[in-house]
């Protein structure tokens, strides 16, 4: 039972990170029908911006101020990077076939990865610990660490903030209108280009927050860290029903839990721990076989 609770906590921690990244995938998809493959790399960029900010500003030891500054700073810079990518890589070809935009997205992803590898080397770097790591024992032997509490607190806060932006502000209303129908939204006087920019900024900021938070939990960052995490976050978004915001969170948490349980209990039923990376896809395929538009996705009736 104790280990079960422990696995649950660990799984939800990873799941919260996936959920933060998945939100960016799902928002961009909801508006542009584009799988933004560069999004996983924004998560990596966020972690690296945090790394350099921490060193530039002299936050190398535990400091709450440092944590807040690094987190917000990297979110802002990543948001700018996301907007720049949209402006220069995606906007010029938005009107062309989606396959073209997709390849451009893969190109941007490769560009960011290769640029970081060329400039910084592929070797992992140690992210400064801005949080005095400490474990709190829950009931029994299950423990929760400070960084895990931080991940839960910050991600829940950011998700609520996002919910508020989307449902209570004018920009959010416009975002929903654009995702409903881009052309009609334009006719209603919405500046769709600005709204799309805002969407990229929001998604990128969330991914960057995910990057900095992960770096507190597991302080190893490298230029290729975004590939597999990004892919799983994307799977999480599809699992929940791509374009659906609560779906992304649900999908992220499910995949985080599934992964942790495969590592924790898989061996008891003959599943090796290396299947950790496969379980996300296995769940996805099983779910899509029964619900072709994901868990919370609405099915689109095809009209003649």
């Amino acid at each position: 039972m104790d280990t079960f609770v422990q696995q649950l906590i660990n799984g939800l921690t990873i799941g919260a990170i996936y959920a933060l990244i998945a939100l960016g995938y799902t928002m961009v998809y909801g508006i542009l029908r584009l799988i933004n493959f560069a999004h996983g790399d924004i998560y990596m960029v966020g972690a690296f911006v945090g790394y350099f900010l921490a060193f530039q500003l002299g936050f190398t030891g535990p400091s709450l101020m440092g944590l807040v500054v690094v987190l917000i700073g990297s979110m802002v810079i990543a948001a700018l990077v996301g907007m720049a990518i949209e402006r220069f890589a995606y906007r010029p070809i938005r009107k062309y076939a989606r396959m073209t935009t997709l390849i451009t997205a893969i190109g941007v992803s490769l560009l960011i990865e290769n640029l970081f590898v060329a400039r910084l080397g592929a070797a992992p770097r140690a992210f400064p610990q801005l949080l005095q790591e400490q474990s709190y024992t829950l009931f029994g032997n299950a423990a929760i660490s400070k960084s895990q509490i931080l991940i839960f607190a910050v991600s829940v806060f950011l998700m609520l903030l996002l919910q508020w932006i989307i449902f209570k502000t004018r920009v959010g209303t416009a975002m929903r209108a654009v995702s409903f129908n881009l052309n009609s939204a334009k006719l209603m006087g919405i500046n769709t280009d600005v709204i799309i920019s805002v969407t990229f900024a929001l998604g990128s900021a969330l991914a960057a927050a995910g990057g900095v938070l992960t770096a507190q939990y597991n302080p190893q960052i490298d230029p290729l860290m975004g590939i597999i995490t990004g892919l799983k976050a994307f799977v999480a978004a599809v699992l929940g029903g791509i374009g659906n915001i609560p779906g992304a969170v649900l999908g992220g948490l499910l995949i985080g839990l599934a992964e942790t349980f495969v590592v924790g209990y898989g061996q008891n039923v003959g599943v090796p721990t290396t299947f950790r990376d496969a379980v996300a896809f296995a769940i996805l395929i099983l779910v899509l076989l029964f619900r072709p538009t994901g868990l919370l996705g609405s099915s689109v009736q095809e009209k003649v």
């Binding site: 062309y96 076939a97 997709l102 390849i103 190109g107 060329a118 791509i242 296995a282 538009t293 095809e302």
Partner: protein, 356 residues
């Protein structure tokens, strides 16, 4: 002259040409002139990539089913055939060699390996093709990607084929094999596209609902194109494994599937010659960038990805669009091949689950 005789002569001429080129590809060469190993490697990989791109073009370019799991089928072909050649080929070759001679036995065994790789990959294609009945567009894409990753991780856990340490495979592939199978793939896909089946595939791409209304069994054709394409990818995998003589599951990560998608989009989707061109460009471009002077050489891959983006921004429909490169180009004829007409002005609509 009967058409059959004509075609036989053409086939013989191609094989003869490939045999001659094959002689140059060996280190000794012909008449004291051979292709250096470095260039030989690029040519071999280009040939294998042509098979991959042309076969993926059948699913994605002509049938309009967006698949990013081609590396998975390649892995299935490579590993299943390697299992055969590593554990059984030597014994079989010895016993067969007594009957028909060493060289023929060697060739027959490899032919069998290619066949096995193709069949196993086709079965994998069938398994992946079936969910494609229910899924559309991006959902199908992510499922094919998922299958490919699962295949890779399953292989990683089979100790019989080396698992995580890699699998050493005997070398069978030479240029002749790659050349023959590349030409065969192109001819087969060309014939499919220009047959009634090809018309059915293109109609599914253009409008699945309308195709169904016209009495086309869309399910059957979608699965069929998946299976054929996977079989070809499996063949490419067999050739690849027995050329590099070492298989590692890292060679079949999803980035490899992306690379094949990039080839066909870059060349122009729904264009056979475009896929070939794309495969050549994507194989040769990173190698050419090795020539970058001094300090820039570490930015080789940065320049490569930047070039990729620039090509897509300046030619969003791919280098050839949906046109075919051929003699008609030289005659400046702008007549489009029937059935490869782009939708509207914006290029072929592909993987489009929700038309606005």
């Amino acid at each position: 002259m009967p058409i059959l005789v004509k075609r036989l002569i053409a086939a013989l001429a191609i094989v003869l040409l490939l045999i001659i080129v094959n002689q140059y590809m060996s280190e000794a060469g012909l008449f004291g002139f051979g292709v250096p190993p470095y260039y030989g490697r690029i040519i071999m990989l280009a040939g294998i990539n042509v098979i991959l791109a042309v076969s993926l073009n059948l699913i994605t370019g002509f049938t309009g089913q967006f698949s990013i799991g081609h590396a998975g089928f390649m892995a299935v072909g490579a590993y299943s055939s390697a299992y055969l050649t590593v554990y059984y080929a030597q014994a079989w070759e010895r016993s067969l060699g007594g009957l028909v001679g060493g060289t023929v036995a060697h060739a027959l065994i490899f032919l069998l390996a290619i066949l096995v790789g193709a069949i196993v990959a086709a079965l994998a294609g069938l398994v992946v093709g079936i969910p494609s009945l229910r899924l559309r567009g991006d959902y199908l894409a992510i499922v094919t990607l998922g299958f490919a990753e699962i295949i890779r991780i399953v292989i990683l856990n089979i100790d019989k084929v080396g698992g995580a340490t890699g699998f050493t495979v005997p070398g069978y592939t030479n240029f002749l094999w790659v050349g023959i199978f590349a030409v065969a793939t192109i001819v087969i896909v060309y014939n499919i596209v220009h047959s009634d089946m090809g018309r059915a595939l293109v109609s599914i791409r253009e409008d699945e609902l309308a195709a169904e209304a016209m009495g086309i069994n869309t399910t059957r054709y979608k699965v069929l194109s998946f299976v054929i394409s996977s079989a070809m990818a499996g063949m490419a995998g067999v050739l690849f494994g027995h050329y590099t003589q070492f298989l590692s599951t890292n060679d079949f990560q999803f980035i490899r599937s992306f690379e094949i998608i990039i080839m066909i989009v870059l060349g122009g989707m729904g264009s056979l010659t475009g896929a070939i061109l794309g495969a050549l460009v994507i194989t040769v471009m990173p190698e050419l960038l090795r020539q970058l002077p001094g300090d820039f050489s570490q930015y080789r891959l940065v320049v490569y990805s930047a070039l990729l983006i620039i090509i897509m921004l300046t030619r969003p429909q791919g280098i050839l669009g949906t046109r075919e490169f051929g003699l008609s180009w030289l005659k400046r004829s702008q007549k489009r091949t029937e059935g490869t007409k782009p939708v509207g002005e914006k290029g072929v609509s592909i993987a489009e689950s929700d038309k606005e």
